[in-house]
């Protein structure tokens, strides 16, 4: 194998595949990056078995030559050293050469590295997906769906299925739902399926996969293709191939958790409420639960308060836009409320309560497609 490549493109590709590489894998060769050179270009692969990422650098693109002098071949290099070496090379281009002992020579300017590599034949083959369950999304919309839900997945393994995000396609809508059983985040968008008949309810993507995917895909309007099989999901753009396993098991039916009636409705500015909760939580951190209280008052005011006897107490009156319905006094996790309000880009939110012991709902005003649900905490 031999080629000369634009260094910045190689660095970008390395950063992408590194998202899948872990030093704690059971198959030793997976601590490496697989490099394959063909006349079409250079392909890098990283995998930890759960997530596999391929990043392709075409020989030519938009009339620019990215790679030259290609002699085909492949090798696996140690991911612990390769990225830093490429990043610190002196010139804008770098030449890679392998010999028949899988020794990799890296040349740029006066610098010459010789790294011990491994035979790429030892590297596991990535499965090729065969499915008709494919649909397309814009990159930026997929990023929104991830950001607005993935923070609510469970981080404990007591119910593994809850560590994933449930992806549902029904009636030409795509819905992402995540819950750790104390709160729930959901985002729904209309989906144009071009008359294809795709529908599924029980696809559960590991939260970790979506977090890594979100780091790699750019925030633009380019198209990403999503393909689903029984146990894997593939996200594919022009030069990127992101494969993740799906979680086994049945995702709980969450729609029945969402209250249909409400007894107290508060309209308020998102940021004002977020900052008041954030301040109140400063003194709530000594408590394991980080609990703050919300109480309706007269003149459209709510009081946010928290009390830790050893440290002190805090209370803040927040003027809302309106309070309708019954008086209310409720306690909840400041962290969950901050998480929920942070991902709402709209300036105004509506909060619907159904009493101090029932879950409550936060939604942006004029956007029914984002829903955040939080279970209150009993305080005595």
């Amino acid at each position: 194998m031999r080629f000369i490549i634009q260094r910045d493109l190689l660095i970008e590709s390395i950063q992408h595949v590194m998202k899948a590489i872990s030093s704690r894998v059971t198959i030793p060769i997976l601590t490496g990056i697989k490099i394959e050179a063909t006349q079409e270009g250079i392909k890098l692969t990283g995998s930890d078995s759960d997530i596999s990422i391929e990043s392709f650098i075409p020989k030519e693109e938009y009339g620019l030559e990215h790679v030259e002098g290609i002699e085909e071949g492949s090798v696996v290099v140690q991911a612990k050293y390769f990225p830093d070496i490429i990043r610190k090379l002196p010139l804008k281009t770098v030449e890679l050469i392998t010999d028949d002992q899988y020794k990799v020579t890296i040349k740029s300017g006066g610098a010459e590295f010789h790294l011990n590599g491994q035979d790429a034949v030892e590297y596991p083959h990535l499965p090729k997906l065969h499915t008709d369950n494919s649909f397309e999304l814009k990159n930026d919309l997929l990023k929104d769906l991830i950001k607005q839900t993935v923070f609510a997945v469970s981080t404990v393994e007591t119910r593994p299925i809850l560590t994933g995000v449930n992806m549902i396609i029904e009636e030409e809508h795509l819905d992402f739902v995540a819950t750790d059983s104390h709160r729930l985040a959901s985002r729904k968008i209309p989906l144009n399926l071009n008359n294809e008949n795709i529908s599924f309810k029980n696809v559960v993507i590991p939260g970790k996969s979506l977090i890594e995917l979100n780091k790699i895909i750019e925030d633009n309007e380019e198209t990403i293709t999503i393909s689903v099989t029984e146990n894997q999901i593939l996200f594919q753009t022009k030069n990127l191939y992101f494969l993740s396993r799906l979680l086994d098991g049945n995702y709980p039916e969450t729609s029945r958790l969402i209250p249909e009636q409400s007894k107290t409705i508060v309209h308020t500015k998102t940021k004002t409420l977020l900052q008041a909760i954030d301040r109140a939580s400063l003194l709530a951190k000594e408590n394991r639960n980080n609990v703050v209280k919300l109480q309706t008052k007269s003149n459209n005011e709510i009081e946010i308060s928290s009390n830790t006897p050893e440290v002190g107490q805090v209370n803040e009156d927040v003027t809302t836009e309106s309070i309708e319905g019954e008086d209310l006094k409720i306690s909840f996790s400041a962290k969950y409320m901050i998480d929920a309000l942070k991902i709402i880009e709209e300036d105004h939110v509506k909060i619907e309560f159904t009493g101090a012991m029932r879950p409550f709902i936060i939604r942006p005003i004029d956007n029914e497609h984002i829903l955040q649900l939080i279970l209150p905490v009993r305080t005595y």
Copy 2:
């Protein structure tokens, strides 16, 4: 105690005194910030016994009113909560009020915090220094002296005196010297003492104190006054008072370590050499010592190389500006060399070697006042 203060000034003062506050102190009240209000302004104090910092916010300055409604008094607040609270308040001003139970009320907009405080009488008194050993420096020059030496102090406690920087005044020159016995950094500047007769050789300032001081003083041409007693040193600007203990013991005589003759002299570009050493060190990190080799070659070239059999090897030919004297092959710590070259702002350096087993010297060309010395490593 009661006052209303500009919040950004209070935040800045808190950040300064926090540099002296540690959660691991034997005197519990030192985990707090002492706040004192007088008609002149507000003074904050933080201390861990080794370092004490006072930051003063004058009531008025440059015709601006920083503090209003002052009722004199003092209190100690918990440093764990106070900084975050002040930082997250909603308005540009904040009111502080204490009651006779040392309860501190913090008000800004609708937010109101009540924190448990402590009686300031319990807070240790900072010593007042009485000394004629005072001199003045510009802030930016003091920052240079610190940056160019403090990285070379010892980080192990086997010889505690080496964890400090030796400050010497002799013959109208100020000299900072640091060594961990494997390398040495020194910076000398001429000092205008206005005919006062100040001279000392054995003042040793803890490296940690200088690192914290460097974070607080601004990079400008304002004047800082330095006063030295037998066991303490005070750095004082208009609104800041930074007191540190000095280290006990005799600092070793370092001047005899510096070779007076050299056998090989290399002139080269600082950055080119720095980057080549940095690259070579990528593969040297598996070795405990992070050792790289330098070898003179023909055509004014030097070869920088490193070899870790399990990983691979690297070599790079660097074109220098000149090589005079004997051929040379020497091994040394890449980290020490990188540290030394990083603090040299000049574009060109001169390296003077006296054989493979003797310490070598790095100096900027045309600046005899900066000197870096490194002991080589024996390799077989």
